[in-house]
């Protein structure tokens, strides 16, 4: 199938305002049912603790941040683990129904095709580092934190958008 045909056979993305309402509904239900919001990097942190438990047990135990998570020997035993698993299932289902499942590297003209995975990995490391400094990511702190009107949530969102705007000015255009 040619690329143009592939794009034509895909479903359009949902209207942003409708998607926002549905996302708000899921978020509200999460608060009502669990007392906290939705997240993502809470899981990756626990995954890091879990890997550390096997790869570098002494260092992980001695670490102020990860040590507490491995104390009982089950860092992945948490609500967020199931939530992240659910996210993968839900996103896969949605992409399958909309015929959006295919393997591709986005924006490969940007910073050279073969370097793309490396720059993406570097960006991911930066994002993960920032999420631990801020004690939350765009989902956990930006979305869930702002929904309970926390100052931290709005501070995060403000700098997130402001610095993102600035940083993208310093990078080459894609085309």
């Amino acid at each position: 199938m040619s690329n143009a045909k592939k794009i034509l056979s895909q479903q359009q993305y949902l209207n942003p305002l409708l998607a926002g309402l549905l996302l708000g509904l899921v978020l509200l239900m999460t608060f009502v049912i669990t007392g906290h919001g939705l997240g993502a990097t809470g899981f990756t942190t626990r995954l890091a603790a879990w890997i550390g438990m096997y790869v570098a047990p002494a260092a992980t135990n001695a670490n102020d941040y990860l040590g507490g998570m491995v104390e009982e020997g089950k860092p992945l035993n948490a609500w967020i683990t199931w939530q992240v698993l659910g996210v993968a299932i839900g996103a896969l289902l949605s992409a399958f129904l909309a015929k959006r499942i295919h393997i591709q590297l986005d924006g490969k003209k940007f910073l050279g095709g073969s370097m793309r995975p490396m720059t993406a990995l570097f960006g991911g490391i930066l994002a993960g580092f920032g999420a631990r400094v801020a004690a939350g990511c765009t989902s956990g702190l930006g979305l869930s934190g702002a929904a309970v009107l926390s100052l931290a949530g709005f501070t995060f969102l403000g700098t997130f958008f402001a610095v993102g705007l600035l940083a993208s000015r310093f990078l080459k255009e894609e085309k």
Binding site: Y13, L14, P16, L17, A19, G20, L21, L23, G24, L25, V26, L27, L28, M29, T30, F31, V32, I33, T34, G35, H36, G37, L38, W82, Q83, V84, L85, G86, V87, I89, G90, L93, S94, A95, A98, D106, G107, G130, A131, V133, A134, A135, S139, L141, A146, A147, V148, L151, A152, G153, T155, F156, L157, G158, T159, F160, F161, V163, A167, E173
Partner: protein, 84 residues
Amino acid sequence: MTEILSGLLLGAGFGFVLERAGFGNPNKLTGQFRLTDWSVFKVMFTAIVFAAVGLMVLERFGLVDAGSLFVPPAFLGAAALGGH
């Protein structure tokens, strides 16, 4: 068991809606920062306003105890630095 179920179901709802909104596509976020595509901003702020107002209404009707909700502590410098 209920924790596993609520995690899986709410997570699936979260993932489904995010994919529907186009957030499985990194160009959506780049587009937002280049100001060529405003969907990230629209989706996030509609969701925040809906959930915030919803929580307020449910609290008025005594269906939600605001004191038991998790509110991130205000380490503002850290939140700002992490937002970078």
